[in-house]
């Protein structure tokens, strides 16, 4: 849930939790994990196809800010130089609210980077559908799963920008190998290894759902991961409200997530601390050997303390969330979608550029980032975790599904679902009760 992460970063910045503030999506030290625009993307000859628009301005509005935004701007700086387009980028910590004010007030940006497909669909009437050229680039660049999320009523509006892999479980490779634990690939293995670790006297799981005003969202990701592995059809029906939220299968999935999350034998510090443990710090006990695993998206790679070696042979790394059904290979994802409110030629050229392999390859190398664009070489990503994430995201055999809480209406996905998860881990309500509550909060 990239938007909540940014919300979180806003909250962290205001609460000035030094640890969290430095951890917002980018490494704190210049140079580490930071790269350059690759040579090919510096050559103006590669930009001739987009045309020349001297003196024209394209405004881009998104939720990406600070270092991450600087790295993004750097990735398109040569596009600006070579085509003459001036891109005015603006990042907001209140993207949803600002977007509505701008569009309702007739000041829509030329291009918006929507972190939630559900939110984007609200503006379908004002959006400019993808041109044939953009559609061709999009079809070439992304799998059908991805493009479905940029499609409204059968018309493609927006190809993706970045992509986050969310179905990750962080662990300490050395702790696992020293104690002879195998990285689990199925749910049953996961439970078996959890039991084994618990029997050996270490708490198998860390968990923390605190995230300022967005407290609870890491729990929604847990439930989404389980539902997704029960079946992609079930997941789609659930996310689109074709089945009620309190459908028995969903309640069962919440209970299944609870077999880890609300299991007193599994959770370090106890289940009652989950809702008050900040998600940014929740994984740190792995470093001290106090817990073994922590379920959190790939962007958590940038949130470890400064001297942590995040690599397969380092202090911590992540493995893909285990599958329930044999042969499945699924990934819960997040990301932004590049939608346009203007039909000017410069905007069109910018859209083509942002959907191109040229941009995605350059962006992959200007800072820690991951993408689902088929044309990039995952090994160009600047950190090992982003290499792994990009490998999985660009693998055509992986079924991807977008974070359901970003597809559900705001009243649910950014409100009652969070509240429900908090009540659930606090023990004040059980799975059935929160599912009923959330179903009742669904806008009619």
């Amino acid at each position: 849930m990239s938007n909540t992460r940014r919300l979180m970063c806003l909250a962290a910045a205001t609460s000035a939790l030094a640890i969290a503030a430095t951890a917002c999506g980018a490494p704190e030290e210049e140079g580490e994990g930071r790269g350059e625009v690759p040579d090919a993307a510096q050559d103006c000859a590669n930009y001739e196809q987009f045309g020349s628009f001297e003196g024209e301005t394209v405004s881009i509005f998104g939720s990406i800010r600070d270092t991450e935004a600087d790295e993004m701007v750097e990735a398109w700086s040569y596009f600006e130089e070579c085509t003459g387009v001036t891109i005015e980028y603006e990042g907001s910590g209140e993207f949803e609210a600002d977007m509505k004010v701008r569009v309702d007030g007739g000041n829509a940006p030329s291009i918006a980077l929507f972190p939630q497909p559900g939110l984007m669909a609200n503006y379908a009437d004002s959006l400019v559908p993808a041109s044939d050229e953009v559609s061709a680039l999009a079809t070439e660049g992304w799998s059908e799963d991805w493009l479905n999320y940029g499609t409204i009523d059968g018309t493609l509006y927006a190809p993706p920008n970045s992509a986050n892999a969310k179905s990750f479980i962080w662990y300490s490779p050395s702790f696992f190998s020293e104690n002879g634990y195998e990285v689990p690939t199925t749910w049953d293995d996961l439970i078996a290894v959890s039991d084994q670790i618990a029997a050996d006297g270490v708490m198998p799981w860390c968990a923390g759902f605190e995230s300022g005003g967005a407290t609870g969202w890491p729990g929604t990701d847990w439930i989404e991961d389980i539902v997704l592995r029960e079946g992609t059809d079930l997941y789609d029906q659930w996310a689109n409200h074709e089945i009620p939220f309190n459908d028995p299968q969903i309640v069962a999935a919440i209970e299944k997530a609870g077999s880890v999350v609300t299991n007193e034998d599994y959770i370090y510090n106890g289940v009652d601390t989950i809702s008050s443990t900040p998600f940014q710090e929740a994984g740190y006990p792995i470093l001290d050997g106090n817990c073994a695993m922590y379920r959190m998206a790939s962007f958590y790679g940038a949130m470890w303390p400064a001297d942590t070696n995040v690599a397969e042979d380092g202090d911590v790394f992540a493995f893909q969330f285990p599958e329930q059904n044999e042969g499945d290979n699924t990934m819960l994802v997040g990301g932004e979608f590049v939608a346009a409110f203007s039909d000017s030629e410069a905007t069109e050229a910018t859209r083509q550029f942002l959907a191109s392999e040229l941009y995605h390859n350059a962006r992959l190398q200007t800072g820690p980032w991951s993408t689902a664009h088929q044309g990039v070489d995952p090994n160009n990503a600047t950190t090992p975790i982003n290499v792994l994430a990009t490998q999985i995201l660009t693998d055509p055999s992986v079924t991807v599904r977008f974070d359901a809480s970003d597809i559900m209406p705001g009243e649910v996905g950014a409100s009652s679902f969070w509240t429900g998860v908090i009540q659930w881990v606090d023990g004040s309500k059980d799975a059935q009760e929160i599912a009923d509550d959330i179903e009742n909060s669904w806008p009619q």
Binding site: E96, A97, N122, G213, A214, T215, S276, P409, E411
Partner: protein
């Protein structure tokens, strides 16, 4: 933005203002030409016109439209009569918002005024009165968001180890477990109120202290000679003498509390059962995209302010009559 763009913009502004002045002068000239009998009325309407126009466009129209919107659904496409109002009074979260708002508007004005009054009386006439007054007035100079961030530090929570938050570190020092203050309902509501009280006490102190200076010493001395105790003097002489100042303070703080948004937004985002009307109005309309519900919240807010405004207007009118 470079200088030329700025000058261009301000140039345009100047042209606009000049054009406005010309139009007004022309209208005034025409009014002057009218027959003497109608002249004053015409002149008055010419000069009232811009004010009425701005009032109409900027206040009356939006108010009416908000009222109308509250009878429509989320995106304003469907008339749903009183459904939004039914939602406010049946939905658990919305009811919680109303209950919280009620708590806020009772507790904060009462506590701010009471503390301000007590403080003003205690420091009245003492050496260093100005310094004491300045100290309690200082928070008034801090914006609501700034104050919220300061207090968020105070309430900051970490599950274990050294605490960043003052309050939790105090708990740790006396051997207790740290508490996640802002997530703990219903305590968190009162902790948020502390912030506003902290800000408003200074205002109350300064206004009430000034009023205290206006109480004639003759009355107090007369009461003392008659054998009244200090408590009796306070309740039967001082308080009635500064009654109007107390009302002004209470009403001002009441209105500030009713439209409170910043503290909730910056500290909890309205989660964990801390939402209030003004914040929920914004949340519904802008974050959750439900214009109808947002408008309903706005109408409720408006309805709650009206009685206070009427009371205050009457109060001022009575004072004016008394002053004559």
């Amino acid at each position: 933005m470079d200088i030329s763009a700025l000058t261009a913009r301000f140039g345009l502004l100047a042209v606009g203002l000049a054009a406005f002045a010309v139009v007004m002068l022309a209208l005034y000239g025409i009014a002057e030409l009218a027959s003497r009998r109608n002249r004053s009325r015409l002149v008055a309407s010419v000069f009232l016109f811009p004010a009425l126009l701005f009032l109409g466009v900027g206040l009356v129209y939006p108010a009416v439209r908000t009222f109308v919107m509250s009878f429509f659904n989320g995106d304003g496409t469907q008339f749903i009569a009183f459904d939004n109002y039914a939602w406010v009074f049946s939905d658990d979260d919305a009811l919680q918002t109303l209950v919280n708002t009620a708590l806020w508007i009772v507790i904060v004005p009462a506590l701010s005024t009471a503390l301000g009054l007590v403080y003003a009386v205690l420091i009245d006439g003492r050496r260093g009165e100005r310094v004491y007054k300045a100290l309690v007035f200082l928070p008034m100079g801090i914006s609501f968001v700034g104050a919220s961030i300061i207090w968020k530090f105070v309430y900051q929570y970490k599950a274990s180890g050294d605490q960043l938050g003052l309050l939790n570190q105090l708990l740790v020092w006396v051997g207790l477990d740290p508490v996640n203050w802002l997530n703990n309902f219903p305590t968190n509501n009162f902790l948020l109120m502390v912030v506003l009280v902290w800000i408003e006490v200074g205002f109350a102190t300064v206004v009430l202290s000034a009023a205290l200076k206006g109480v004639p010493t003759e009355i107090i001395e007369a009461a003392r000679i008659d054998g009244a105790s200090p408590a009796q003097i306070f309740w039967n002489v001082t308080v009635p003498s500064i009654r109007s100042a107390i009302v002004v303070v209470a009403v001002t703080v009441f209105i500030a509390t009713l439209k409170l948004f910043d503290i909730v937004r910056a500290m909890t985002g309205g989660h964990h059962g801390t939402d209030v009307l003004a914040h929920n109005m914004w949340d519904q309309a802008f974050r959750l995209g439900n214009d109808g519900r947002g408008a309903t919240m706005a109408v409720l807010l408006f309805a709650l302010v009206i009685p206070v405004v009427i009371y205050q207007v009457r109060n001022i009118r009575r004072q004016e009559l008394e002053a004559r």
